[in-house]
């Protein structure tokens, strides 16, 4: 007998003891923590509310470049010392820049939190020296070139720009070789001063730790940070629905990215949106999988949901032989039109819930898995959601919710960018 009913009793009888804490320092820095005595590690992270959407045209790529520059030196440490001081206590560190946020994080054994956090907090006040700046430009340019050798990255960037048009969500995160080459360190320092203000940052901890000690660390390292309020112009936007074909003769496969508007992160519909994307375009067992991958018509066909401040997008990804592209676009159009007309089934919804729930539980078993969602929830909603509450939010989604979602956020028509050796691709009728 297949388990067709959605299994909401997903967690064990014994609830894990996760304690949530928060405080705000006098300078506006918010500090949050979800602590769990049974974890083996602790994760700490600074969420800075700045990304490519906050950049003016002549600063294209500055948020991401700045993310690199924080690791290049502070008043107390040069680049080699930054790396060494993380590594010598076995701390795994990294950072990432998106359209909206720059997220710096470290995971380490609990007994090494103090020295690890010392480095992490230190790099959030970097020196931004000119010679380091000029050296690191070359690294950024190498990164840009690396992504230019990846057709999906090219298509994805181009699709965002085509869809959002002049709206800042269409900005490139990496910038271009040209914009990076022309960037001057003074402009970056100015951008830093405006955006890395304590009131624009959330400090989060997850895993094994003591709240009193964490607050002490935060105060010790961050209470002296200064800066005024930072604002974000978050205008809602609707996509252009444009079509673009970019010729890359050197590629063997054709790569297509489609974009449709979706619920913004401010709404509760984001859970329904994620489930819809799972039903239609998860990498396994979805409608796109059965229609395109299983019969071997494409080697990549997925749909995913991304939310932003006051905006959202469903991204369709297609990778296939150039000659099959037009037919595949027709198939995708048909799948989306069909679901818009007829909705999804109860079985599909339960199946998606079962998948999403199990994945969420697995992800939550490592502190880093919890830290990201903790920080973004707090940053944008000033809310704390336990894992159980998140699972509940998914389990509450009904077929009616999905019908309404499909009506309010049509998947088709969508903005389309096609990249590859053929330009004999056009919008399906």
């Amino acid at each position: 007998m297949l388990a067709m009913d959605f299994d909401s009793g997903i967690l064990s009888d014994e609830p894990r003891l996760m304690m949530f804490h928060h405080t705000t320092l006098a300078n506006g820095l918010e500090v949050i923590a979800e602590l769990n005595d049974r974890a083996h590690s602790v994760a700490a992270g600074f969420f800075v509310k700045t990304g490519s959407r906050d950049e003016m045209a002549d600063l294209a790529g500055v948020s991401h470049f700045l993310e690199h520059m924080t690791f290049k030196g502070t008043p107390r440490r040069d680049a080699l010392t930054v790396n060494r001081d993380f590594d010598r206590v076995g701390a795994k560190h990294n950072a990432q820049t998106s359209e909206e946020d720059t997220f710096y994080h470290v995971t380490c054994l609990p007994e090494y939190l103090t020295p690890s956090f010392d480095v992490l907090a230190d790099i959030l006040r970097p020196t931004l020296r000119e010679d380091d700046f000029e050296t690191e430009k070359k690294v950024i340019i190498e990164e840009i070139r690396m992504y230019l050798d990846n057709p999906m990255s090219v298509a994805y960037e181009a699709a965002k720009t085509a869809h959002f048009g002049p709206h800042p969500l269409g900005n490139s995160i990496l910038g271009t070789v040209d914009s990076i080459t022309k960037l001057r360190v003074e402009r970056m320092r100015d951008y830093f001063a405006r955006r890395y203000s304590p009131a624009n940052i959330v400090l989060g901890f997850a895993g094994k730790g003591d709240w009193g000690q964490l607050v002490e660390l935060a105060v010790q390292h961050c209470a002296g940070w200064q800066g005024g309020p930072a604002t974000r112009q978050a205008d809602p936007v609707r996509g252009t629905g444009a079509f673009q074909a970019i010729c890359r003769e050197e590629d063997l496969q054709q790569t297509v990215v489609g974009v449709s508007d979706a619920p913004p992160l401010e709404t509760e519909d984001r859970y329904a949106a994620h489930l819809l994307a799972t039903i239609l375009g998860d990498h396994t067992g979805s409608r796109l999988y059965w229609e395109l991958i299983d019969p071997g018509l494409a080697d990549g066909a997925e749909l995913s949901y991304q939310d932003y401040n006051q905006a959202g997008a469903f991204f369709t990804f297609l990778s296939c032989e150039p000659g099959e592209t037009q037919a595949n676009l027709g198939r995708i159009a048909q799948i989306y039109r069909t679901v818009m007309a007829g909705g999804v089934t109860e079985e599909e919804l339960n199946q998606a819930k079962n998948k999403v729930l199990a994945r969420s539980v697995l992800r939550s078993e490592r502190p880093m898995g919890r830290l990201a969602s903790l920080g973004f929830q707090w940053m944008y909603r000033r809310a704390y959601l336990t894992l159980e509450a998140e699972l509940e939010a998914f389990s509450r989604v009904t077929l009616g919710d999905l019908r309404r979602l499909l009506r309010d956020w049509p998947l088709w028509p969508m903005t389309i960018v096609s990249v590859g050796p053929t330009t004999d691709v056009h919008r399906p009728k």
């Binding site: 297949l2 388990a3 067709m4 967690l11 064990s12 049974r38 974890a39 083996h40 590690s41 690791f71 680049a79 080699l80 790396n83 060494r84 590594d87 010598r88 076995g90 701390a91 795994k92 560190h93 995971t107 380490c108 007994e111 090494y112 050296t135 070359k138 690294v139 950024i140 340019i141 190498e142 070139r145 690396m146 230019l148 050798d149 990846n150 057709p151 050197e250 063997l252 496969q253 396994t284 067992g285 991958i293 299983d294 019969p295 071997g296 494409a298 080697d299 990549g300 990778s319 296939c320 032989e321 199946q351 079962n354 998948k355 199990a358 994945r359 539980v361 697995l362 078993e365 490592r366």
Partner: protein, 425 residues
């Protein structure tokens, strides 16, 4: 080492040769398994088999397209409804099936995977779709030069068939028939040499019984015979019109079972395992030559290698290669500093302890340990071995890097580079 709840590791060998290794992890709700089957791409050229390159990958895809009482859709839907995240793939030596889910769904998941391994439908009508998928994967691989170069490096560095790329070839995949794939499946999917590592919220006695019931009928087969042929070429360039040039090197290293294993791991990590290591520091931080540069270690039972990699613009590639070679040789000539050894130890110990949080990570480590050693290495043992390393012992091992005998270099991109002359390296 800090106080952590001691892991409970159990093992059982079934009469057909299958080994089950289990680790009870009291703090997690999930459970995961990794099943290694000695059915990798290397066996495509086993004596008497000789199926085309890509058979292992095609069969790995075929076995989930209907098995036991379920057709393809029923099977994948059943796994989804059990909340099972899973993947099935062929590598060079093994085909591996791995899955993670909530603890209470582990045995139901294993029931489905037992069908996948023992009773796949192998419907002929699935062959063409799988062929089309695998041919497209090869095309996508061509569009992914960073990944492509590593497959091609292994193929040149290791003797045939130990570096055989699992994605296969266009000729191989195009020519494979359902009969050839079935022949491959029947010859190599066998219990002796198969290892099932399971970790998480598991009930050992129940698991042991279930696996015995589910896999007990797995009939032994004779071990296919593999004969070794030389690899090569040791210096090569693949022409592609790409933005970056890929640079990849391989050098022989000590295997997991070698008495030099820990010294070798330490040397590779100190060379290029993290951001304060030599390669990242010299190539990226100081000179800004690359975004991605690293050294890594990989091992089979009888051979192992250190790999070095960098991706860089054409006009910086020569300098990048020269700096990498110089750094490897400098490590060999001058040895390591005590601080570098401390940093390596801290990093590896931390990784090992933090991996205790992940049932997926542990299940993979259990299967891997068993493959190499026929036992599971406790954390304490690894820690003791790491503590026993000295700057002198690691430096002595690394001295072999000066001449870099049997080094393989492969580049991929718009221009070839000047390789060091063999007398220099």
């Amino acid at each position: 080492m800090p106080d952590t709840a001691p892991a409970t590791i159990e093992q059982h060998k079934y009469s057909n040769g299958l080994v089950l290794v289990g680790e009870v992890m009291p703090e997690v709700q999930s459970a995961a398994f990794t099943l290694l089957i000695p059915a990798g791409a290397a066996y495509e050229v086993a004596e008497g088999l000789n199926v085309g390159g890509g058979a292992a990958t095609m069969v790995a895809e075929w076995i989930t397209r209907g098995a036991g009482s379920r057709d393809s859709r029923e099977l994948l839907t059943a796994l989804d409804n059990l909340g099972v995240s899973h993947s099935e793939s062929a590598q060079t030596l093994h085909t591996s099936l791995s899955a993670a889910t909530l603890g209470r769904n582990l045995v139901p998941a294993l029931e489905i995977f037992a069908d996948v391994v023992l009773q796949p439908h192998c419907d002929d009508e699935e062959v063409e779709p799988i062929r089309a998928l695998c041919l497209q994967n090869l095309r996508s691989l061509e569009d992914d030069p960073g990944t492509k170069v590593i497959y091609e490096l292994r193929r040149r560095h290791f003797p045939e068939p130990w570096g055989r790329p699992s994605p296969g070839t266009v000729e191989g995949i195009s020519g494979l028939t359902g009969d050839a794939l079935r022949r491959f499946y029947h010859a190599v999917y066998r219990p002796k040499g198969a290892i099932l590592g399971v970790a998480g919220a598991i009930d050992w006695p129940r698991l042991k019984d279930a696996v015995g019931r589910l896999f007990g009928d797995w009939k032994p087969r004779p071990d296919p015979h593999l004969s070794e042929k030389p690899g090569g070429p040791r210096r090569d360039h693949i022409l592609r019109e790409t933005q970056q040039i890929q640079i990849a090197l391989a050098h022989p290293s000590a295997t997991v079972v070698s008495p030099d294993y820990y010294r070798a791991r330490a040397a590779v990590a100190i060379l290029g395992g993290y951001s304060s290591a030599r390669l990242f520091t010299e190539v990226r931080e100081k000179r800004g030559l690359c975004y991605s540069v690293y050294a890594s270690y990989e091992s089979q039972r009888a051979r192992a290698a250190m790999l070095c990699y960098a991706g860089t613009s054409a006009d910086r590639a020569q300098e990048t290669l020269d700096v990498i070679i110089a750094e490897v040789q400098r490590l060999g000539r001058e040895g390591i500093e005590p601080e570098e050894l401390e940093t390596m130890r801290a990093g590896l110990k931390s990784s090992l302890i933090m991996a205790q949080e992940s049932s997926m990570s542990r299940s993979s480590a259990l299967a891997s340990d068993w493959y190499f050693l026929g036992r599971v290495r406790p954390l304490e043992e690894i820690s003791t071995e790491l503590d026993a390393l000295t700057p002198r012992s690691v430096s002595d091992y690394a001295a072999g890097f000066v001449h870099m005998r049997d080094l393989t270099i492969l580049t991929l991109g718009p221009t070839a580079l000047r390789f060091p002359v063999d007398s220099e390296v």
